[in-house]
Amino acid sequence: MLLILLSVVFVVLRVAGDPVSAMLGGHAPISEIERIRKQLGLDKPLYIQYLNYLMNLAHFDLGRSMIWGQRPVLDEILEHFPATLELSISAFTFSILLGVFTGVFSARRRNKPADHAIRLYGIITYSIFIPWFGLVLQLIFGVYLGWLPISGRSDPRMAPEIITGLYVLDSILTMNLPSLIDSIRHLILPTVTLGIYLSGIYTRLTRTHMIDILQSDFIRAARARGLPERTIIYKHALKNAFIPILTMMGLQFALLLAGAVLTETTFSWPGMGYFLYERISYRDFTTIQGTIVFIATLIVLISLIVDIIYVYIDPRIRY
């Protein structure tokens, strides 16, 4: 699977065009184009390029950046990765909590105005354009109310000592309260933006399954025994609605990564996505290619992990 995906990346990037002429524009002298092609190994036949590409990947070598001291691409990606991870974790958690809560709320008021409103919310979150939503939040909470910072991960004077690269966790580990508060304040707006975007699918999923389950016999039995409504909903019903939600969580990672690219760009959050955006504007092709390969690998690995987790959660699944 990984091999196929990486091959597709190779095909897409090679067939789609010549990076060198795209980088230099149409007016560069031919000798210059040839020199850079040779330097990048693009003058060799396609199958050798392909083998080189795979060999380098096997050595975790994504090439060197085309600009600024030509640092290895992988180093630069890994430098930016913790920021993306931090944003992803918090947005993911937020989206699930929000989605499950609104879904349960909606299912309990089926076909009432509140239900319709939440269903509309489910569709609207699909249509949210992250940069625009982020802009609106920045305007309201950052510019006009002045409550929250609108860009970056932390105030440079308050950045915590880096241990894991996750600022919130680092602040806790170093017991640095001001930097903890600062990091969380920076995290709020990006989390809400990305979280709301991702939450719609959980809302819909939870609602559908809760409606089914609330009509089933064991819920009626629980009601007959006189259990409090809260126990019925959250302990009995939600537990059973959780398996499809878990499936969806695995499927959402791809969307999460794509959403993170836009969210990071919107909030100048220095993660992989913002890094990709920066390098796109410099036409730094090796870095762009490396980042995309990295993301592809990440997606394959995550789906593998999710498959393994399934087996533990649901013993009926066998491979």
């Binding site: 089926r110 699909y126 992250i130 836009l262």
Partner: protein, 292 residues
């Protein structure tokens, strides 16, 4: 083909809307109204737009919304309303073109691959599945980086993103239909491969296309906007909502909110139009799903 059948289906469906289905009916009507408004804007852009969208300094720089410029002016003194109206043309051209191309490619390949089967089918499915596994935006970025700027490159990038969706859907339908009685009967009376595919199987897969088409259009509007937001979309002389939104960040801290807010709002509205339309269509065409 799919586009031609869609209106006919809608009219027959609108007559089916009962009070119980009121919400779905409303979804379709509102969605359709939004889409048609934007199409109207795109077609009559030269008449509707009060100023030349690319002419700088038709007013002051960053003029706030006022009667002369209902949406204000941007950093170069261009009229934002005119840019939005012309921008709708760009967005709709790219969206409709890429939808037409991707559905044509995806449906044809899906039909052939599902019908022929064998190694050809395995290889093609594997390729499509791995394209599908990619997040659409990342794939579009990879393609757009290589293809360069302009309407055609962006359209092609979007097309490649959506082909696998049609391919997978159609292929699975063909696989189940291939074994059905009426296809067998057609084969028994001597129908050959091409007739079988296009005369017997194809008409039966049409109904599932409009929903996907509409939902994909919603997604395509967002992906296009994201590409141009990231600076990969269209050359500067083509008015485009995503790029205008990006530029709107420039003066945010000075409380200049209008250059970004309005183009972004248009992106969201058009996407909402397509998704409402698609959702409503899905609910009505597929009663099994109703209540979701």
């Amino acid at each position: 083909m799919a586009n031609l059948t869609a209106p006919k289906m809608i009219t027959s469906m609108l007559s089916k809307i009962s009070p119980r289905r009121g919400v779905e009916g409303l979804f379709i009507i509102v969605g359709l109204a939004i889409i048609l408004t934007f199409i109207f804007m795109a077609i009559f852009a030269p008449v509707l737009a009060p100023y030349d969208p690319n002419k700088t300094r038709v007013g002051g720089l960053y003029e706030s919304p006022n009667p002369k410029f209902p949406m204000g002016t941007d950093r170069l003194g261009r009229d934002i309303l005119s840019r939005i109206i012309w921008g709708s043309r760009t967005v709709l051209i790219v969206t409709f073109l890429s939808m037409a191309l991707s559905s044509a490619c995806g449906v044809t390949l899906g039909l052939i691959s599902g019908y022929v089967g064998g190694k050809f089918d395995t290889a093609l499915s594997l390729f499509m599945d791995s394209l599908y596994a990619f997040p659409g935006l990342i794939l579009a970025i990879a393609l757009a980086v290589m293809l360069g700027q302009g309407i055609m490159p962006v359209t092609v990038s979007l097309t490649v993103v959506y082909v696998p969706i049609y391919f997978r859907m159609i292929r699975s339908e063909v696989l189940s239909m291939k074994e059905s009685l009426f296809v067998e009967a057609a084969r028994a009376i001597g129908a050959k491969g091409r007739t079988l595919i296009f005369k017997y199987i194809f008409p039966n897969v049409i109904p599932s296309i409009p929903i996907v088409l509409s939902l994909n259009a919603a997604d395509a509007v967002l992906t296009l906007a994201a590409l141009s937001f990231l600076g990969l979309g269209l050359p500067a002389h083509i008015p485009d909502w995503g790029f205008d939104l990006r530029m709107g960040y420039g003066a945010l801290t000075a409380k200049i909110w209008w250059p970004g807010t309005f183009p972004g709002l248009m992106i969201v509205l058009l996407t909402l139009g397509f998704s409402l339309f698609g959702e409503g269509l899905a609910e009505i065409l597929n009663p099994k799903l109703s209540g979701r």
